[in-house]
Symmetry: C2
Subunit: 547 residues, 2 copies
């Protein structure tokens, strides 16, 4: 990299410190007071969404500096490199091409061609299921989709399934089995008839411990429920995985047909994979392929906006830069994601993975010579849908000692037009009164001589307004999340696309599993090399007795 | 208060700074290495739970200082005052007596007698429902419980309903309608037959906007589904509320019978109310009264532990003190709550409200002369059940630049004994391999010359081990959460029992609602006094067109 690192870039812009100091002393009330055009100047209107960042603690100088920072850090080059399929996942030597997954129309991009090929296969398969051409071993049509997967093979599909539930095909149901906790298996299967259940096993490597064990258990549930019909697994199970020798062996070992594999590729990271077969297969089965295609169109809209819009008008770029501003200069270590839509109840969990797994890093992206970062990176993301969160953690947002920037996401139209005869405002309008009120309450506060009722305000937020939560919009939101993450990683100089931080826990877990297995075989519990605290816990667990 | 405030107390213990400095440079590896007895000395074994805080970055000196801090801040006195019903909710001039809700046996405490009286009524009512003595207007027995409530009238009951689902009465189902978003209403009602549905409307004041509007909409759903049978509301709806004139009027206006009111009191705060009728009524209907009583027994066990155990062995006291240590001296602003149990999937959301609404405050508790605090208070709490979180945000926990203390909660026995014939370890054992591995990975890390795979460790956590997630244990966990919150509030000098921070947003929302209502009547949209950003948003919403 020819560019200076993040801190070097910040330091090359000495105005940053002065602006930050001034802004830390300033107040949003003042910024609005000084500039009656703030609403227009600090917002971006597009044909599919409106983005209002006027309640962020930034001014034109700061935005200018952030854009300079982006230039010094080569953001445009990084974005282009991503879209062009350069090996930007340096540590794993992979391209990062989730944007190719939703590239529509004729294309020279090999990866996009591959993606389109698999999508066509998914379309055919899901249409066969929906038309009744493809049925279970008893001849009953499939109406239950059980998607087994965890992390990136779970959070995105689950989030989108909930968001798009009003668009589901009549009679189709979907559940997501992620947790190895047997309670999740029981919850997912207890009310379902195996004869009507199609299982989608999703794992990039087809070796993920939880997913494989859940798959084996679900396989036995199917076989038991279907009287060990010899075609049970072949007819009731399909897989989403990479197409490599090891995965194929696993898929065959489980008893699936080779043609039941819906392919993904190493250029799609797990947490960026919801628009691949990972999401496409279960969601096309649940919603119908055309609805899933709407999701792709929404994501592609955002891809094009991200790739082609000047940074000063670029929504994910501005979001990412402002996040960095809040983290670096205002000392915010967390961010609240507040969708005013019950259908987006799982967007915070999805985004949590995206942000925290991508940018929860402490070393620079250089493969051979990474250096420890000396600046704060990825923030903690949390949230609940509005208005629920208002009756929960918003007290801290308004009056706590920590400043937590918030994203408010709202929709002009409801998913369902619910109203009763007594209330003049509909449910959706009542929801939106809150969506409008909260950002102002946070930003402007209210002075009160009674300190208990004093609201200092000056708490920053974004407001995103969409027409309606439908599959297209859900696709826009997903891609917005993906690109905002990438922007931050590029600016900070992280590799947002690997996740070595999950390996140590897996390794230690495997070691414990070995001890448990040996205990079952020999009744001898090997505690050597474990620290005394873990020894006590493992003994308690295996001997089924509290310490 | 005769005691010095929090900062004064900290400053009166100058050793704190030196210890903190040393601990910031030290490492958990070293602490374990130096003291082979650390597992025993930094853990508490009781008959119902085991609490291991050996992986916290504390030593005996620091624990001694924290206990001195508790003494200087009069913690024992505050706890006793709470149990004795003193007016410790100073701003609202109320006692804080959720502990009276689960006091069993004969008692002189008037509030406990009241609570027992209402519990007896709940027992009778739920037994009548279960025996078929009390049925809907068509004569069908009730099998669906629809609980309408938000915030404290929702998160606790929902969390416990999920945690105790294996103990539900066969055939009974419960859903929680919280969000004003009509999607929540549709999701809750679309598969249910009104004839079999009993509605529990929960609101302390019976004026909560979301709950009342949802109640009116559900009322019309019932009437429509039951052909406006004149006894529909009387037979299908009950209320949990305070018994005051205003609430009674609201209850009658809705058409409920006066005897359908199950009482709560102003000495129970919303977020501490799950062991009152708020939780007791829906959960007794769903689980059976005896199972709910187990929850009460578990909570009472923790109450007694909290009230009677010396602080050095007192689990919620130690948890609270260590939280303060992590926040104040190690600079941690958030905490991850990681139940290794799918049944506790909503414990983080429940705890989020408890912690962040109680201690997300910036002024001291004094009613007349509060002072702004000059120290960080309540932390951000977030989490997902293990192992799901491992495939999501744990990357940041292990390798991020922010240190996030974590609570691991595990159970020796599973809720359901799920295993397949291929895996030697059961699902639950596999879950526990992770529960054991993660705290060690965080605490000890692993040096690696390849910085991408380097784990610095030194990341603190608690480990809590219980026998089994059953109603009793769920009650223990709820009360543990409540008391840990109170400990922090007492030490910081906050009033953890009010929530004035939610008022401004409500007020602004009401203002917007007025504008919407006028618009519906007159087609004129009044934008005066709104700031330009909100004007644009409100116009977009009412004109149904993006800006």
């Amino acid at each position: 990299m020819a560019e200076p690192n993040f801190l070097g870039a910040i330091q090359s812009l000495p105005q940053f410190q002065a602006s930050a100091e001034a802004m830390r002393k300033g107040h949003l009330r003042q910024l609005f007071h000084e500039n009656p055009q703030r609403a227009n100047e600090y917002s971006i209107a597009t044909e599919v969404m409106y983005f209002d960042y006027s309640r962020q603690r930034v001014d034109k100088t700061i935005l200018g500096l952030l854009l300079e920072l982006a230039q010094i850090r080569g953001l445009k080059k990084s974005i282009d490199a991503m879209f062009q399929g350069a090996i930007i996942n340096t540590t794993e030597r992979r391209a990062v091409l989730h944007v190719a997954l939703r590239k529509s129309g004729k294309t020279d991009c090999k990866e996009a061609q591959e993606a389109q090929r698999v999508l066509a296969k998914i379309q055919k398969f899901s249409e066969e299921v929906h038309s009744g051409k493809r049925v279970g071993v008893t001849g009953k049509p499939f109406r239950n989709i059980l998607a087994i997967g965890i992390g990136g093979s779970y959070l995105g599909p689950e989030c989108l399934a909930q968001a798009c539930a009003p668009y589901a095909r009549p009679g189709m149901r979907v559940r997501f089995l992620a947790n190895i906790d047997g309670t999740d298996f029981v919850n997912c299967t207890k009310e379902w008839d195996p004869a009507e259940t199609l299982v989608v096993i999703i794992s990039k490597t087809f070796t993920t411990a939880e997913t494989m064990q859940n798959a084996r258990t679900v396989k036995e549930w199917l076989l038991q429920g279907l009287h060990s019909h010899p075609e049970t697994i072949a007819k009731h199970c399909v897989a989403v995985s990479q197409n490599n020798a090891k995965a194929i062996l696993e898929i065959q070992a489980l008893g699936l047909l080779p043609e039941s594999l819906f392919e993904i590729w190493d250029w799609v990271g797990g947490r960026f994979s919801v628009t691949s077969a990972v999401g496409a297969l279960p969601l096309s089965l649940y919603l119908g392929y055309d609805q899933f295609q709407e999701i792709l169109k929404g994501a592609e809209w955002m891809d094009q906006h991200f790739q082609n819009t000047p940074f000063a008008q670029n929504i994910p770029v501005l979001c990412g830069l402002i996040d960095i501003w809040n983290i670096h200069f205002l000392g915010c270590t967390s961010r609240a994601l507040l969708p005013y839509a019950q259908g987006l109840a799982r967007l915070p969990a999805y985004t949590q993975q995206g942000e925290m797994e991508s940018n929860g890093k402490s070393v620079t992206q250089d493969r051979e010579h990474p250096t420890p970062v000396t600046w704060p990176t990825g923030e903690i993301v949390f949230g609940e849908p509005g208005t629920n969160g208002q009756h929960s953690f918003y007290q801290l947002l308004h009056q706590g000692t920590h400043i937590i920037p918030a994203d408010f996401i709202g929709f002009i139209e409801p998913e369902y037009p619910v109203r009763n005869s007594k209330d003049i405002v509909s449910h959706h309008e009542e929801l939106l009164t809150n969506f409008l009120a909260q950002p102002d309450a946070l930003a402007f506060g209210q002075d009160n001589p009674n300190l208990h009722s004093n609201f200092p305000g000056n708490r920053p937020s974004n407001v995103l307004l969409f027409r309606k939560l439908d599959p297209f919009t859900a696709g826009v939101i997903i891609a917005w999340t993906e690109h905002r993450i990438a922007v931050k990683g590029f600016i900070w100089g992280l590799n947002s696309f690997d996740q070595f931080g999950v390996e140590l826990g897996k390794m230690l877990g495997k070691d414990i599993r070995g001890r448990m297995e040996r205990y079952h075989k020999s009744q001898e519990l090997n505690l050597t090399t474990l620290n005394p605290s873990t020894q006590k816990l493992l003994q308690a667990i295996m001997h089924k007795k509290l310490p």
